[in-house]
């Protein structure tokens, strides 16, 4: 299989994104670095939520509690930063995210209840936890963190937020994908039974995958408070958006196929569509309709393509 064939879906997404970028430029000729920057900033929490969802979908599960874990991490970080420096607060938050994800995974493995049900229940548990930590929006954010995702440096025109996101996701995902654990995650997602018979510790792999999901959620939570400067205990609209982006990004529900690059490009595609429609002064409510239609349309198109490929 050549490179182009192997990455056909991702390349298609990149092409789609470039076309959309071109359309943006047509609609708004002044769209430039600052527009790109605000796009990257707005996409930040969505990108982390999508990365988190992608990992668990690859292992063959699904996590309905991503938005709630993000809320818990956001309020934790915001509360911690009132009393301590940014670095320990961020580290504690990341550890908490990892822990919450692993709790999700462990519950799925130990109770043998379907993942969709466990994470549905945990959605409530984490949502309540966030409310217990912080009853109303509050807390604070270290100044350095907020400026870290603003503006652009190193390369002119390449937004800081994008670099932070790429770095944060790559530092976790690239070593992981090349490790034994990464291989196990794909193996378990492809066929749990086959993976088990090949000597993969299925339970431990699942728990680890959910832990990584939690870690990405923690990053998402941190990006939330960086954007708003305040801890908000109510989960945002990241659950549905992340499922949509994951599927759009070429990860197959059921597991074993796909990566993180496709879903993250998909996040940007979904965001830029919103930008275009806003710039074109389309009613924001119509925007919701168009977004939904595109989501369903692209997935249908993908399903048809896959059926074609299988039948030929």
């Amino acid at each position: 299989m050549s490179f182009a064939q192997k990455h056909a879906w991702t390349l298609g997404l990149v092409a789609l994104f470039l076309v959309l970028l071109g359309i943006t430029k047509l609609v708004q000729p002044t769209f430039g670095a600052s527009g790109l920057e605000s796009l990257a900033r707005a996409a930040l929490p969505f990108a982390f939520a999508t990365a988190a969802m992608a990992v668990v979908v690859i292992v063959g599960g699904i996590d309905l509690s991503v938005a709630s874990i993000m809320a818990v991490c956001a309020v934790t970080a915001a509360v911690l930063m009132e009393s301590m420096g940014a670095v320990p607060a961020v580290l504690i938050t990341l550890a908490m995210g990892l822990g919450m994800g692993m709790i999700n995974g462990a519950l799925i493995v130990l109770t043998k209840v379907p993942d969709i049900v466990v994470t549905l229940a945990m959605l409530f548990v984490w949502e309540g936890t966030a409310l217990l930590i912080l009853n109303a929006p509050g807390g604070t954010v270290a100044d350095g963190l907020q400026s870290a995702i603003a503006g652009s440096f190193l390369v002119d025109g390449l937004p800081n937020a994008l670099i932070v996101m790429a770095f944060a996701i790559a530092i976790v995902w690239i070593p992981l994908k090349r490790s034994k654990l990464g291989l196990s995650i794909y193996a378990v997602g492809s066929s749990e039974l086959a993976a088990f018979r090949s000597g993969v510790a299925v339970g431990r792999t699942k728990i680890a995958a959910y832990g990584i999901c939690g870690l990405f959620c923690a990053m998402g939570g941190l990006s939330l408070i960086m954007l708003t400067g305040i801890g908000e205990p109510v989960p945002g609209p990241y659950l549905l958006a992340s499922v949509a982006a994951v599927v759009l990004g070429g990860v197959v529900l059921g597991g074993g196929i796909g990566g993180l690059l496709g879903p993250i490009i998909a996040v940007f595609i979904l965001r830029i569509i919103r930008t275009i429609l806003t710039l074109a002064a389309v009613d924001p409510n119509v925007t919701t309709i168009i977004e939904g239609t595109i989501m369903v349309g692209v997935v249908m198109f993908g399903a048809v393509l896959m059926m074609r490929r299988r039948s030929t």
Binding site: I62, L107, T111, K112, V113, P114, I116, V117, V118, L120, A121, M122, L123, F124, V125, W126, E127, G128, T129, A130, L131, L132, I133, N135, P233, L240, V243, A244, V247, L253, D283, N285, V286, T287, T288, I289, I290, E291, G292, T293, M295, V296, V299, M300, A303, V304, M307
Partner: protein, 332 residues
């Protein structure tokens, strides 16, 4: 035949008690659920003696009915290994449409247009799932989004007409007959139709067949896309009717009226013993599941805990109940 009987008998004698209980529970999944419901009511009475009254019972049933009807949508789609995440939005759409059309064209037209919209969403879902083979989770999520957007745009045009809820819906939603909510006049025939329909009609059996093994069902001559179209249209209709009942109950149409019922409706179906992988489930269990969730809601309100702790407990109880259920029935 006698051979089988003998081995069965031998097995019964040799298997330990808990396995046999598990089998029994697996065969009659409603029984452990009813026991659990009884325990929860017992806890409620213990915490606040005297709370259990005919009035309380009527109230609990009243609030469980829309949940149980929406959970029927989840249960029916789960039988074919699907899910309907657009059900709550469809209920909201139908509630909003009936309230906005009634002052213009009268209640009959209002109900018809509302249900027509609901069935339309269902047909789109059915097309996506059955013909285009999109994963039901994604398909219903997408149509839910689209329907929400359409509702918001629609709202712009009708904001001046005012809202009026047909009298018979208010009667159905809030009235009581002999202490019991009038919603039962709708719900009892509805539940009977689902229970009997699943057991005795060909369509009901097709759902189980498709959910157990779609490939085998297709090879046996089932045209799966037709079943999916019919199923999702039916589910849309049920969600639409739920919306009509719910708006009569709440008496204030809004753009997110029934949306908070979505996750509890999935939880009710799951607690009721429906397998999300398809092929197994019963509506009786789902009804008890909806009652359990309603009683838990009352229980948590009575505890006067902070909002956060209540939400945490709600989640833990859902998890605990399903985990216990899986533990009891897995040794089958």
């Amino acid at each position: 035949m006698s051979m089988i009987d003998q081995t069965d008998q031998a097995e019964v004698e040799s298997t330990p008690l808990h396995v046999r209980i598990g089998r029994f529970m697996g065969d009659y999944p409603v029984i452990p659920l009813i026991i659990l419901l009884g325990c929860l009511v017992g806890v409620l009475e213990f915490m606040r003696p005297g709370i259990i009254s005919p009035f309380w019972l009527g109230n609990t049933i009243k609030f469980a009915i829309p949940l149980a009807m929406l959970a029927a949508c989840q249960m029916l789609t789960m039988l074919t290994a699907g899910i309907d995440l657009s059900a709550a939005v469809v209920a909201t759409v139908s509630a909003f449409v009936v309230a906005s059309v009634t002052p213009l064209y009268g209640p009959f037209a209002g109900v018809m247009i509302a249900l027509g919209a609901a069935v339309l969403v269902g047909l789109v879902n059915g097309f996506g799932v059955g013909v285009a083979r999109v994963h039901p989770l994604i398909m219903t999520l997408g149509t839910g989004l689209i329907a929400t957007g359409c509702l918001q745009v629609y709202q712009r045009f009708v904001i001046n007409t005012g809202a009026d809820i047909p009298d018979f819906l208010e009667w159905l939603g809030t009235g009581r007959t002999a202490g019991m909510p009038n919603g039962l006049f709708l719900f009892v025939p509805f539940a009977a139709a689902i229970l009997l329909g699943l057991r005795y009609t060909g369509f009901g059996r097709l759902l189980f067949a498709l959910g157990s093994n779609e490939h085998a069902a297709k090879l046996s001559g089932v045209r799966s896309w037709q079943v999916f179209m019919a199923l999702y249209a039916l589910v849309g209709l049920i969600a639409g009717i739920t919306g009509l009942l719910y708006v009569g109950m709440i008496r204030a149409p809004s753009l997110s009226l029934a949306n908070p019922l979505l996750l509890p409706s999935v939880a009710a179906a799951v607690i009721g013993g429906t397998s999300i992988f398809g092929g197994r489930g019963s509506y009786a269990g789902t009804i008890v599941g909806a009652l359990i969730l309603t009683v838990i809601g009352t229980l948590l309100t009575l505890l006067q805990m902070p909002q956060g702790a209540r939400v945490v407990f709600f989640g833990l109880i859902i998890l605990g109940v399903t985990a216990l259920y899986v533990r009891l029935t897995e040794n089958r």
